[in-house]
Amino acid sequence: MKTNRRKFLNFLIGGGLLGWISSVVYPIISYLIPPKIPEANVSSVSGGMAADFPTNTGKIIQFGRKPVLLIKDDNGEFHAFDGTCTHLDCIVQYRPDTKQIWCACHNGTFDMSGSNVSGPPPRPLQEFTVNIINDEIIIINPTG
């Protein structure tokens, strides 16, 4: 009887220990597995491959909490701006026809240097730095 009880307790301790170890090891192992995005995008974000980006188009890229408008102009040069219109909260877009940045909500326009040209926007769009490294577009927030 006594040995049975002892055996049962030992079994419980062993099982519990095993369960405990796995509930400690499992989170640690999965913590060490690299997440989908391998590093915290601190002040830069990738905009994809430069060669794959069509000329005279723009694309909204997620930069942390805010949208950034990435544009490739006719000369193949890249420009990036804060994608939130300085008027209200709308997201701006690139217009290939007028070659301007345009906010659809209230028809605000900005030129290719981000300056507000017409419509309600009160301020220019903040410009971001664009670097091409090994054909990859890297957008950098100059203010960090």
Binding site: I13, G15, G16, G19, S23, R65, H87, D89, N107
Partner: protein, 421 residues
Amino acid sequence: MKISLIVSMILAGMLLYPGTTIVQAEITDQLVAEDNCVSCHLEMEILPADFQKYDIHLQRGLSCAGCHGGDPSSDDPEESMDPKKGFIGKPALKDIPQFCGKCHSNIDFMRTYRPRIATDQVQQYYTSIHGKKLKSGDTKVAECVSCHTAHAIPSGKDGRSTVYPLNIPSMCDKCHGDSEHMKGYKIPTNQFEKYARSVHGINLLENKDIGAPACNDCHGNHGATPPGIESVSHVCGGCHVNNLDYFKESPMSEPYVDLEIHACEQCHGYHEVSKTSDEMFGVSEKSVCNECHTEADAGYIAAQKIHTSLSNFVSAYDSAEAQLREVQKKGMDDVEVLFLLKEAHQVLIHTRTLTHTFTPSKVEEKSQEGIEKSRQALEIASLEIEDYYFRRRGFGIATLFITVLVIALFFRIRSMDKEEK
């Protein structure tokens, strides 16, 4: 540290207190010393009732004689206020536009103050109802001083100015809201009350958003004229560009012209433009479509369809937003959901604008785009919430193991103690 605090407080106080900035004080002191008009009138306390030191003319060195003429260098009133020396005195009401225009219409002179300053105010004024009536001898109408005051004119960007955007509606209302004053002009006097209730009025007067239009933004400033019936829509379209563009290409555009209905005003009103709602569309009681369309006509069906598209989108958006709040409440990651919802909101604004095409298919197409975005947001938000419960379940499992271990250890220790005894 304390001394510097006191000094900076004094400095801040000096800057904030109206009319006593260091620069202003210096200018008036200098004027008092050199200008006999100012020093004498100050001493005898016969200054104009509305005289203010912050007046921009005074600030720029234009004293009494600058407008009223005369000779400020003489301390003999006979001599200094001699009409022969150009003394004008108080101009007659009907002469005020020319009185101000002496300088303000002179581009060569005005350019010395600001290169891009406008000098067509007087010219514009005479095209306005006010100007025309003044010319024909009606002195009850507004001239320069009615709006700008005579001796208390700061820059228009100064909050104290009567023509600062926030002050404009009440300034116009002084005359236009006075039924006694407006008697005989056959126009209503309740514009201000209506305007104050409107979406524009609320934004300007309550929210102090000077981007919102005041009276002059639709009626013009110096050339103030009611926007002719044809041009109402153009006035609205000046800011609400897309809405007008869509409308112009819509099937409604032509019939409106034929029936002489004014595009925007028909549904939105004018002074009392209230905040729009999705209920304006459709066939419910609040709908404005009902006013012309009757059951089963093409417009009625279209209105119904557009309303359905809109409300489907809005309910999808609302449920995603509710889920987002749940995510935030539970302290989980909201970045991606927030981002998607922002995009969905953008689409929502666009969809609502698209209703002005009066084309159900276009609204439906955009709605679907928004519903898809809202759905994605909802999905991610739900994942986050699921994760929240997953953590608790995970904790439960770990606790189970630990509890088993603890209980087993406890009995093990107890049995060991018994053996020893």
